[in-house]
């Protein structure tokens, strides 16, 4: 079976497990913000880098600057967690968390890092727990990136065939939202399929 031939059942399992992970993460962020967040149905697809670029262009609202946090995780299953916030959302987050009308750039960056840490740890931990495996997290990095360079040269070189797991976190009353991508590739895609097969076997046993 080719990577692109992930069955409907594989995609359904991944979507449902991501939904559970996202539910946990939304609740944690809701506690941080003392607000109510809206959950969305996760989008899952198998793609190449061109497909990812196109998907990002269509998904992420246009803004001259973005806060992009990336965190690698590895183990029996591994990949990269990417969280993208527009400049406007990041400003609103800093404004809300620090309760100041004009948060400075350090405050905004700190707020984005704090939120992303909770998001990535909760989502990946829960997702891998549901897949009956464990992962290690690597140190995350947050960059302020020009709108035209969301996908950099590094990513183009590192990824060929990828699975995009994408969803959106929205706290409407606070005007805070962000897009979450989990990218995984090559042998990790095969491992992911094996883990999902084990999950399906449990279910049908």
């Amino acid at each position: 079976m080719q990577i692109s031939e992930f069955s409907e059942d594989h995609l359904d399992v991944l979507k449902e497990l991501m939904n559970i992970a996202m539910g946990n993460a939304t609740a944690s962020i809701a506690d941080l913000l003392q607000a109510f967040g809206t959950m969305h149905i996760p989008y899952i697809s198998v793609s190449d880098m061109d497909g990812l670029k196109l998907f990002i262009e269509e998904t992420i609202p246009s803004d001259p600057r973005y806060y992009v946090t990336k965190q690698l995780f590895g183990g029996e299953f591994g990949g990269e967690f990417i969280f993208v916030m527009t400049n406007e959302s990041a400003f609103n987050l800093g404004n809300y968390l620090y309760d100041v009308s004009e948060p400075n750039s350090a405050d905004i960056l700190d707020a984005v890092i704090e939120l992303t840490n909770i998001l990535s740890a909760t989502i990946i931990s829960r997702l891998t727990e549901e897949l009956n495996t464990k992962v290690q997290f690597f140190v995350p990095s947050t960059e302020v990136i020009d709108g035209n360079h969301l996908i950099g040269v590094d990513e183009t070189l590192n990824y060929h065939k990828i699975i995009i797991v994408s969803t959106e976190m929205i706290f409407q009353n606070q005007n805070i939202s962000g897009h979450i991508f989990i990218l995984t590739k090559d042998e990790m895609i095969e491992r992911l399929r094996t883990l999902i097969d084990q999950k399906l076997e449990e279910l049908y046993s």
Binding site: D12, I20, G23, L200, L203
Partner: protein, 119 residues
Amino acid sequence: MKVLVVDDSKLARLSLIKVLKEFEPSAEIFEGENGAIAVELFKSERPRVVFLDLTMPVMDGYEALKIIMEIDPKAQVVVVSADIQTQAHEFVLKIGAKMMVPKPINSEKMLAVLQQLVF
């Protein structure tokens, strides 16, 4: 006993039905993939219990719950959702859900649910 299981995920529906059958092997199960189908099945089958997800395409669980409660204010709807926010919990109980259970559902949770329902 008729039971309606509503979730856009086949995995979620199968998991729930599997644990439900441990306690109610003779249950007659109806499945729906979204809120709109749930409402139609509720009208036609009048199930004793509805297990309802919240985040679904076409019509979400909040909307379906409102309509089901309008059709039958005594409907026994159990919301089974990944959305574990306190406000979501409070909101579905306010609309009329009997209870809300966090996903994924297992035997322990199912037993607790069934013990609280009226048959």
